[in-house]
Point group: C2
Chain length 469, copies 2
């Protein structure tokens, strides 16, 4: 096989198809508002358009790219649509797309510093930038330490990692693994329960919440004390800054003090709301963060950076590395042995890692901190505006404080009326909202924060709500 025989697309063809695909993406984003937000298929519809077997012969790239329209598009739910108010945003941006493209083009591996130093050093630098941008403890910077940040795939991975490190520390200290207890609020994200189950905790306590759906610190204390009395070992607690259900904020400082008192690892889940910490006026929500052991937030939610991009900080990286480091002979090298470098493979479960920090670097530079702050402030403003409209209207009830850019409300006439409103909004092609349930009551979550959403889209949603009731 010679160069001419290599079966790859020529680089000239790559240029052509690459330009075409860039244009296709620009056209997609430029016209996305004209599409229904939700997908248009039934189970199996997409699959039915795909042959049962891989093709034996090469297919033309133009035909493959054409299938983005024919096969893929009907089955896409358009998370980048300006009418996306579902779940939380998964906000992409032109700068992030370019970053992901550059990363794919370079296709280096960052498992060790030595296997591509730029992958490690750009990542450390950008995560150190975020420490300052978000008002986090300076000791969490890698360059000053003893803490440090690393990119993971998702907050679930970050939370799971924190649970594993705490468990390994506890068993190394001689505690019985079967008696370890982890705590989160009853409104904590499912990743807490899933992570604890995955990490092998037998005991997971979901603590009662108060009227704002924030964890009750007295209830946490009572649970910890009861577990100790029962000869169990409380070792880990999660505070949420912005729960998934209603963006409630747990009492971070109180939980932190309690964690210190009882020797628990204190993990903060700010997966969604962490982005708002770039605003000084919002940082009171994370007061006490300096006593946390770890913290996760997802630039891939609200910071315009394509999934996957979840940040995981630890206050003391030695604990993390001590728990996860394993050094086989084929990964030994002088740079690692010197101790001068970071080998991120020791900071998480996977070994391989792509150049994920590139897109975050592109985003932070392409926007600049000032633009990012005004961008997030507008979402907060629009959420307050919608909240005010709903709040003053006797047809609706606000079910949780609008702390960030999530508005939670229901129909004042009760469960059936709320479900009817959900059903009517589901029929509207221009918006996507998802219902949820709290205290056995259905409510509507309006999450504002999609990249292309403007105030007029929020107003149009209000008009739809108004006319549907």
């Amino acid at each position: 096989m010679s160069a001419a025989d290599l079966p790859h697309m020529s680089l000239d063809e790559f240029r052509k198809h690459g330009h075409d695909l860039i244009d296709w993406i620009a056209d997609y984003l430029g016209t996305i508002e004209s599409r229904p937000v939700d997908h248009q298929v039934q189970p199996g519809d997409v699959r039915a358009m795909i042959p049962d077997r891989a093709p034996a012969a090469a297919e033309p790239m133009s035909e493959i790219l054409g299938d983005l329209d024919r096969v893929v598009m009907p089955g896409m739910t358009h998370w980048q649509h300006p009418g996306w108010f579902g779940y939380f945003p998964a906000s992409s941006s032109p700068a992030a797309i370019l970053g992901e493209l550059a990363s794919a083009g370079l296709a280096g591996q960052g498992m060790l510093w030595s296997t591509s130093p730029a992958i490690t050093e750009v990542e450390s630098a950008v995560l150190d930038w975020l420490v300052e941008l978000m008002g986090l403890p300076p000791s969490w910077r890698v360059d000053t330490g003893p803490g440090g940040g690393v990119l993971q795939m998702s907050a679930s991975d970050s939370t799971h990692t924190a649970l594993v490190v705490a468990r390994i520390q506890a068993t190394n200290a001689g505690l019985d693994a079967s008696k370890l207890v982890a705590y989160g609020s009853a409104q904590a994200h499912s990743s807490i329960e899933k992570g604890a189950r995955t990490a092998g905790y037998n005991h997971i306590r979901l603590i009662d919440v108060d009227d704002t759906f924030a964890m009750s610190a007295p209830a946490l204390r009572a649970a910890v004390e009861a577990d100790i009395a029962a000869e169990l070992h409380p070792i880990w607690v999660c505070s949420a800054i912005g729960t998934t259900g209603t963006t409630a904020v747990d009492p971070v400082a109180e939980v932190g003090a309690l964690a210190q008192e009882f020797g628990l690892w204190h993990h903060i889940d700010a997966a969604y709301a962490g982005t708002a910490m770039i605003l000084p006026e919002m940082r009171h929500f994370q007061a006490g963060v300096e006593f946390a052991d770890s913290y996760t937030f997802n630039p891939h939610k609200w910071m315009l950076t394509n999934f996957d991009c979840s940040v995981f900080w630890v206050a003391d990286r030695a604990k993390l590395i001590g728990a996860l480091s394993i050094l086989p002979p084929y990964l030994r090298n002088t740079a690692s042995a010197s101790g001068e470098v970071i080998d991120y493979r020791d900071w998480h479960v996977p070994l391989g890692r792509r150049f994920r920090a590139l897109k975050l670097w592109f985003v932070l530079r392409s926007y600049g901190a000032d633009n990012l702050r005004s961008y997030i402030r507008s979402h907060l403003d629009w959420a307050q505006e919608l909240t005010a409209q709903l709040d003053k209207d006797p047809r609706f009830e606000i079910v949780a404080p609008t702390t960030f850019a999530l508005v939670c409300f229901r129909h004042a006439a009760g469960e059936e009326a709320t479900k009817a409103l959900v059903a009517k909004l589901a029929e509207e092609p221009s918006v996507y909202v998802a219902p949820s349930v709290v205290n056995d009551t259905t409510f509507i979550r309006v999450s504002i924060g999609s990249t292309w959403t403007e105030r007029r889209h929020v107003q149009a949603l209000w008009d739809l709500i108004d006319s549907a009731c």
Copy 2:
């Protein structure tokens, strides 16, 4: 904030920068051979070119893209270089880059079927294609079942998941978690030990290997029986098809029979060599695969698909889902409740997931199965040619069979001569090889399989080895 006030790059700018970046990638790949394979920096050099703080104001995208050359490039180890013979390949391809770009442009979320059905259904379809292409049990196809495949980030994640599922099954059956035992060979990848530690196994047995570095089935049996006699609970064993050190192949059928006899979960790690199973003549290495419980292989290693793209198959998906499923109210929806669809969030630790199958779909179609087979066969041929050259030369010793496209050799004059050869090759800018150690002896790993490698590059490596001794 109105549309004009949104801080995003305009779509016209995106087109321009996107075209430029596509051209930059084409230029990079087209000229990569003229670069030294290894990076050109010392610890801290990249970081020193990055400011300490994020910029307050937006920077021009042209300047940011310019930093790919200025800041990033000196710190890149070029895994896509045709002289890349280190570790294993991380083979990208033009088709895969386009797939990753399309995924970034769509930026949908595939955590549930309903959040973008195309993400789930393309993934299932493509992984079902691979079942047939690789000669795996038809019951591993999602469409016929009861098995199924899912994409994970890395083989480490797949292996960890298999360990977690086996542990949860065991403890659900009443076994004491502290007495569970996992087994792999002494040559198994570090992800086995790391995964077992992460998943909370107290007992990990690394079983002796034979002269070909394959796990000894009698030694495995002896270890299992000894553990049972000691009232421990053997529950999990990994067979490697192609170990990382030397691509040894464990006796899959024997291990499978033993796993059935003792009720162990049998996981197969074919992270690298799985790709070779698209060749019917190589499938004898996975004889007995039909008795495995799970199997992982990485298209991001040798199947031309950008990292991350690791496949994880289970023979019975109900066991996987049963162990990992947690259903909070905000993720409930009628499609999931119907049982008609796959919700991949229940197949791994993370919740969110991007459209990773797109690039694999693009690769399999853009190449076609016939081209992929001839491409892999050439690597196997070149590896045999290099092996023959080394083997007939009294200066060198082959240290392990060349089973796939990894050649393992050392200098016949002993350890110091081998290390001197390693050092000389490390000074050659046109190639990258990494040493390893087996039985306390240094050897040189030549891994053939980078996308742009031709026979002439392997011959040039031989010339360098020849002239260096």
